[in-house]
Symmetry: C2
Subunit: 329 residues, 2 copies
């Protein structure tokens, strides 16, 4: 059988994860990386990876089955999504929650028009965590769901800190609070504030001569990002940051508990958790499984934008239905 | 919108769970319970539940959208599945793993012929655990998956003990071994024997004058069920069994760990776990969500036998795609 031919749009951490992840999937091959930068300046992780300028993509629609969009949600995917949906089956990890409905509609229109299949907002959250929130709700309708993130590096929060005056570099860890986790796991179904669920720990490199007290206050009082949380700020050197905080671990937990029985006498707790050494690597692997699904759905004539909610598990696997039933059911 | 009209075939613990579970789902209503026993002898949990003899079912195909098969896999479902697939959309929790392919084919043939949609082997294992085994494998192809069961009552093992001569009643708990769990959670990917993964604890009521030593030996050496495990046998009175072991708690854990990165330098661990006060209640709720999916798939003209692998998450929910994207993605 012919392999699924994958293109990578954008070559940051996620694009690198997809590049390496493809070799874990025997039914896929990489056509190349597409970038806005000068292709000659890109050093790929694998020697034989081809790099093209993004302007070349439009002429390669015949030899790419699925394009994996690896840019940022804010700057890149919002516009690239609909644009590439008019040319390719696509998969992306668009994660600006508030804009998902609008983005979905734009991609859907372009994809339907071009008879392409585009899976948006895949990855682990949105993505696998969303599926588990849905499963929780449908299997335990009289219950309550919780999502915890971490312990891990939040890139959005790290970026927010770096915009504070006097800061040279920074890394922010989101940490679920054990007491809250234990209450949720007990089936108690507590109401929890943002502050009760997560702690925020920041490692900050200040510029020379900066006012540390002022920086710390500014971080802790930043609306949306930090004001509603207990936040710890550590000042460290650039060397320490590079040495001790150079990786991108992450993780999280979705818990749903609920009651059954004529008198609600039975409590059930369902928990889904992930612990990742590398957030972009795992996200890349999830996108690749959904790339397989996009390819297969497209061949079946199922066009338009989809989310992880619309994809049956079997489409993610290279195994046949018969083999899945025999080996995994 | 008209509610989904559910029939229940078989009124044991699972059937009772479905009866009560329907009232947690606003888009469903119960038509009635079907039984081989004399309907007049059945006391239902809810006063207004109607009870019919199984022979009446064939005349009620017009007023039942989905029949939930709640009999035992061995004795009932193997034959009832194909028989009812010729008349109704169905959902079942058929769990005799070795016979699933054969059962699937028989149901598929009957369902395709009658333009019905039948979801077989749903529940939590097979079912939700199967989905998580598949997810583990596709997201971390260079990895290893593990399934642990318990702590909880295994009805199959309890039944096996009760067949031993000199035993009046018994209850068997399957218990995952903490050390094995911790090794798997560390990402080590160990090879584990049956004995290393689970402990079996039995509470046995012996008949008067029975040879306890002989009973204990017979249990511990029972092939398939106990010989490959460390097994603890406690002899207790019927009163103690009824008082302390009358419920049907269960649970389990699916863990998949794997490596990514150019040099396999990153480890990831994904864990799905459930903790249930009542195994039949939770199983019933899962079957009901898949009943909703069977109904909707049938209306879309998607006929034949399906498993949980073939059902996209959205079909399990009463919410629209738009609402799911807005609230859960």
């Amino acid at each position: 059988m012919r392999k699924i031919r994958i293109g990578i749009l954008g070559y940051g951490n996620l694009g690198k994860g997809v590049e390496v992840g493809i070799s874990q999937n025997k039914d896929m091959e990489l056509v190349g990386v597409f970038t806005r930068r000068n292709p000659d300046t890109i050093n790929t992780l694998k020697e034989d990876t081809k790099v093209y300028h993004i302007d070349k993509a439009g002429k390669m629609t015949d030899i790419i089955d699925v394009m994996v969009l690896c840019g940022g949600s804010r700057s890149d995917i919002m516009t690239q999504g609909p644009e590439f949906a008019a040319m390719f089956n696509t998969v992306d990890g668009f994660d600006t929650h508030a804009k998902i409905p609008e983005y979905f509609e734009a991609v859907n229109k372009a994809a339907l028009n071009a008879k392409k299949t585009c899976i948006v907002s895949s990855g682990w959250d949105p993505g696998l965590f969303s599926i588990n929130r849905l499963y929780g709700e449908v299997f335990l309708p009289e219950g309550k769901g919780y999502t915890f993130w971490g312990k891990g590096v939040s890139q959005g929060h790290s970026d927010a800190i770096r915009r504070v005056e006097g800061i040279q570099d920074a890394r922010q860890y989101t940490i679920p609070i054990e007491e809250a986790l234990n209450r949720v796991r007990s089936g108690e179904m507590p109401e929890l504030t943002a502050r009760q669920k997560h702690l925020r720990e920041c490692f900050v490199v200040a510029k020379e001569g900066a006012d540390l007290k002022k920086i710390e206050d500014e971080i802790k009082n930043m609306p949306d990002y930090f004001r509603d949380y207990d936040t710890i700020v550590h000042f460290i050197s650039q060397e320490e940051l590079d040495r001790d905080h150079g990786r991108l671990p992450h993780g999280g937990i979705v818990i749903h508990s609920g009651k059954t029985g004529l008198h609600h006498e039975n409590t059930h707790v369902v928990e889904y958790s992930i612990k990742l050494d590398s957030n972009p690597d795992f996200t890349a692997n999830v996108l690749l499984a959904y790339a397989r699904a996009a390819y297969r759905l497209n061949r079946e004539g199922s066009y338009g934008a989809k989310t992880v909610f619309d994809v049956a598990p079997a489409y993610l696997s290279a195994k046949s239905g018969e083999e899945l039933r025999r080996t995994l059911l």
